[in-house]
C-alpha cells in the first residue's frame, strides 16, 4: 500500500512538471497552430538563471527558493515573448517554417547553454524541508512532490481564472476554436499570440526551477528531456485543451511511475503505447477538437 501511495504521489509530482511545460505548448498550438520545439529552452534557461540567482543569495532558504521561481517565470516569459515577436511572428501562418525555426532555436540554445554552463549537471540546493520526507500511511513521500503539485495547481487555477475572467482569456478561448473569425470580429489576435507565448514561457520557466529541485540538478538537456513527454501529454490531452493537458499529465506520469516499478522499467514504452492507442482511438485527444 505504501509503495502504491509513494508511486502515486511521485507520479502526481512528475505530472505537475509535465503540466507546467505542456500547458503552454497546448495553448500555443491550440491558438496559433505552432508546434514549439523551443519550449524546452525556455524551461532550461529559467532553471539556469533561477539557479544563478539562488547561488548568489542565501543557499537553502525559502526566500531564495521563491526568488528563483520568480526569476524562472520572468526569464521564461521574456524569452518566449522575444521568440514570438522576432521568430514566430514574421512567419505567421507558415507552420512548417515556424516548426523549423523552433527546432533550430532549440538546438542552438542547448549548444549555447553548454558553452556557458558546461555539459555536466550542476547540483542545486533548496530548502532543507524539500529533501525531507513526510510519512503518509506508511509511505515516506519526498516533500518536493508536494511543492510541485501545489505549484501546478496554482498555475492551473491562475490559467483557468485568466481564461474565464479576462478579455484576453476570452479572445484566446475563441481563437483556439476559430482564429480567423476572431479577427473578422475586429480583434487583433496577434497580441493574444504574444500573451500566450509569454504565459507558456512563464509556466515553463517555473517548471524549469522546480525540475532542477525535483531532479536535484540543472543541465542543458533538462528542458529537452521534459519536452518529449510534454508533447505526448499535449497530444493525449487534446491540442488546445488546458484541462486535457492537466488530466493527461497525471495519467502519463502515474502510468510511467507504475510501469517503471511493476513492469521492469517500461514506463517510457507504456507512455508511447498509450499515445499510440489514443491516436488510434481518438485522434483529437481526450478533450481536444483538433486532430
Amino acid at each position: 500500500m505504501s509503495t502504491v501511495l509513494l508511486l502515486l504521489i511521485t507520479g502526481l509530482g512528475l505530472g505537475a512538471l509535465y503540466f507546467l511545460v505542456a500547458s503552454g505548448l497546448s495553448l500555443i498550438y491550440g491558438l496559433m497552430g505552432v508546434l514549439n520545439f523551443a519550449h524546452g529552452s525556455f524551461l532550461t534557461l529559467g532553471a539556469f538563471l533561477g539557479w544563478e540567482v539562488a547561488r548568489r543569495m542565501e543557499d537553502g532558504s525559502w526566500l531564495t527558493f521563491g526568488v528563483s521561481i520568480l526569476v524562472g517565470a520572468v526569464v521564461g516569459a521574456t524569452v518566449a515573448t522575444l521568440t514570438e515577436l522576432l521568430l514566430i511572428r514574421p512567419l505567421y501562418l507558415r507552420h512548417i517554417e515556424q516548426v523549423l525555426v523552433t527546432v533550430g532555436l532549440s538546438l542552438a540554445t542547448v549548444a549555447l547553454f553548454e558553452g556557458i554552463w558546461g555539459v555536466d549537471p550542476i547540483y542545486v540546493v533548496g530548502p532543507e524541508w524539500l529533501n525531507d520526507t513526510t510519512d503518509i500511511a506508511g509511505a515516506l513521500i519526498p516533500n518536493d512532490r508536494f511543492v510541485l503539485i501545489a505549484a501546478a495547481l496554482i498555475v492551473l487555477l491562475g490559467l483557468v481564472v485568466f481564461l474565464k475572467r479576462t478579455r484576453y482569456g476570452l479572445i484566446i478561448r475563441a481563437g483556439v476554436e476559430n482564429r480567423a473569425m476572431v479577427t473578422a470580429l475586429g480583434v487583433d489576435v496577434r497580441r493574444a499570440f504574444t500573451l500566450v507565448f509569454a504565459i507558456g514561457g512563464a509556466a515553463a520557466g517555473i517548471g524549469g526551477v522546480l525540475a532542477s529541485h525535483y531532479f536535484g540538478y540543472v543541465s542543458p538537456l533538462i528542458g529537452g528531456s521534459l519536452l518529449i513527454f510534454a508533447f505526448i501529454v499535449t497530444v493525449i490531452g487534446g491540442l488546445g485543451s488546458l484541462t486535457g493537458a492537466a488530466i493527461a499529465s497525471v495519467v502519463v506520469a502515474v502510468l510511467q511511475q507504475f510501469a517503471n516499478f511493476y513492469l521492469g522499467g517500461t514506463g517510457d514504452f507504456m507512455v508511447v503505447a498509450l499515445l499510440a492507442v489514443v491516436l488510434l482511438v481518438k485522434p483529437t485527444g481526450l478533450l481536444g477538437s483538433k486532430a
Binding site: L170, R173, A174, M181, T183, L185, G186, V187, D188
Partner: protein
C-alpha cells in the same frame, strides 16, 4: 458608376492554397441600401467577401469610403466599420451567447438595445453555450454580433441558408432594419429574400462579374435570371440541398419542396 460608393472593388483577385477563386472582379457598393452578390454554386461569392476583408490572400484595389484598405489586416478593416456575418454562422460553440457578444462588442456596442429587441430569444439564453443553440438562434447570434456595433457597411453571407421560413422572415426583417441605416453587401441564394431586400445586384460567374444593375430589373426578367443564375426568378421554393442538416430540428425547413439544385455555393 455610383456617386460616392461606400465600397469600391477593382481588379480584385483572390486565391486559397494557391488556387484562384476570384479573378479581377470589379464592382461598387452604394452608400445606401442592399447590394446582393448572386451567382451559381462555387463561383466565388463567399471568397469575394472574404477577399474584401482580407481573410484570404488577395490582390487588387479595395477602397472603403474613399480609403484603400487592401493592404490592411482583417481586424483593422473591421475596425474601420465593416461588419461581417459569415456563411454557416461561425459562432464560437464553446462560448456562451453573452461571451460571443462580449467578444464582438466594439465601441461599447451602441446598438445592443436594438439587438435585444430584434432577437429576444437570445436575451433569454445569454448563459447558454452557442454550440447548443438551434441553427436559427445561431444565425441570430451571428447577426447580433455585428448589428450591435456601429458599422458603416455590413458584409452578410447567406444569412437564410438552411433556416425555416419563419426564421428566414425574422432574419430578413432584421437585415431590412439594419439596411435602413447601414449599407449591406449580401450574398444570398434565396431570391425572394433578394427581391425583398436588394436594390442592386452583382452577378458573379467563374470568379468574374458578368452582370451588375438594379435588382428589380434582373429579377423581373425571368429568362435573364434563368440564364445568369440557373433558377427562375419566380421560383420561391427553397433550393434543393439548402437544408442545414446540422441544424437542430425545428429550425430546419424539412417541408421545403426540392427545387433547383444549382443555387448552393460551396464554401470558398
Amino acid at each position: 458608376m455610383i456617386a460616392d460608393p461606400i465600397l469600391r472593388v477593382e481588379a480584385l483577385s483572390a486565391s486559397i492554397d494557391g488556387q484562384q477563386v476570384v479573378e479581377k472582379v470589379d464592382f461598387e457598393v452604394p452608400a445606401t441600401g442592399v447590394t446582393a452578390v448572386l451567382g451559381r454554386n462555387g463561383v466565388g461569392k463567399t471568397s469575394t467577401l472574404k477577399a474584401v476583408l482580407g481573410l484570404i490572400s488577395r490582390s487588387g484595389v479595395v477602397e472603403f469610403d474613399g480609403v484603400r484598405i487592401d493592404g490592411e489586416r482583417t481586424h483593422r478593416v473591421v475596425q474601420r466599420g465593416i461588419g461581417y456575418v459569415p456563411e454557416d454562422r461561425e459562432v464560437f460553440a464553446s462560448l456562451t451567447v453573452a461571451e460571443n457578444l462580449r467578444l464582438a462588442a466594439r465601441g461599447g456596442a451602441p446598438h445592443r438595445d436594438m439587438v435585444d429587441e430584434l432577437f429576444p430569444d437570445l436575451v433569454a439564453r445569454t448563459a447558454q453555450r452557442a454550440g447548443s443553440l438551434s441553427g436559427g438562434q445561431q444565425q441570430m447570434l451571428s447577426l447580433a454580433r455585428v448589428l450591435m456595433n456601429d458599422n458603416r457597411l455590413l458584409l452578410v453571407d447567406e444569412p437564410t441558408k438552411g433556416l425555416a421560413p419563419r426564421i428566414v422572415t425574422e432574419v430578413a426583417a432584421a437585415l431590412e432594419r439594419a439596411a435602413a441605416v447601414t449599407p449591406v453587401l449580401l450574398v444570398e441564394q434565396n431570391l425572394p429574400v433578394v427581391r425583398r431586400l436588394a436594390h442592386t445586384v452583382v452577378v458573379i460567374e467563374g470568379g468574374r462579374v458578368i452582370h451588375a444593375g438594379p435588382a428589380a430589373e434582373l429579377l423581373d426578367d425571368d429568362e435573364r435570371t434563368q440564364q445568369l443564375l440557373g433558377v427562375h426568378s419566380t421560383d420561391h421554393s427553397a433550393p434543393r440541398g439548402d437544408t442545414d442538416h446540422s441544424a437542430p430540428r425545428g429550425d430546419t425547413d424539412h417541408s421545403a419542396p426540392r427545387g433547383a439544385d444549382n443555387t448552393r455555393e460551396e464554401t470558398s
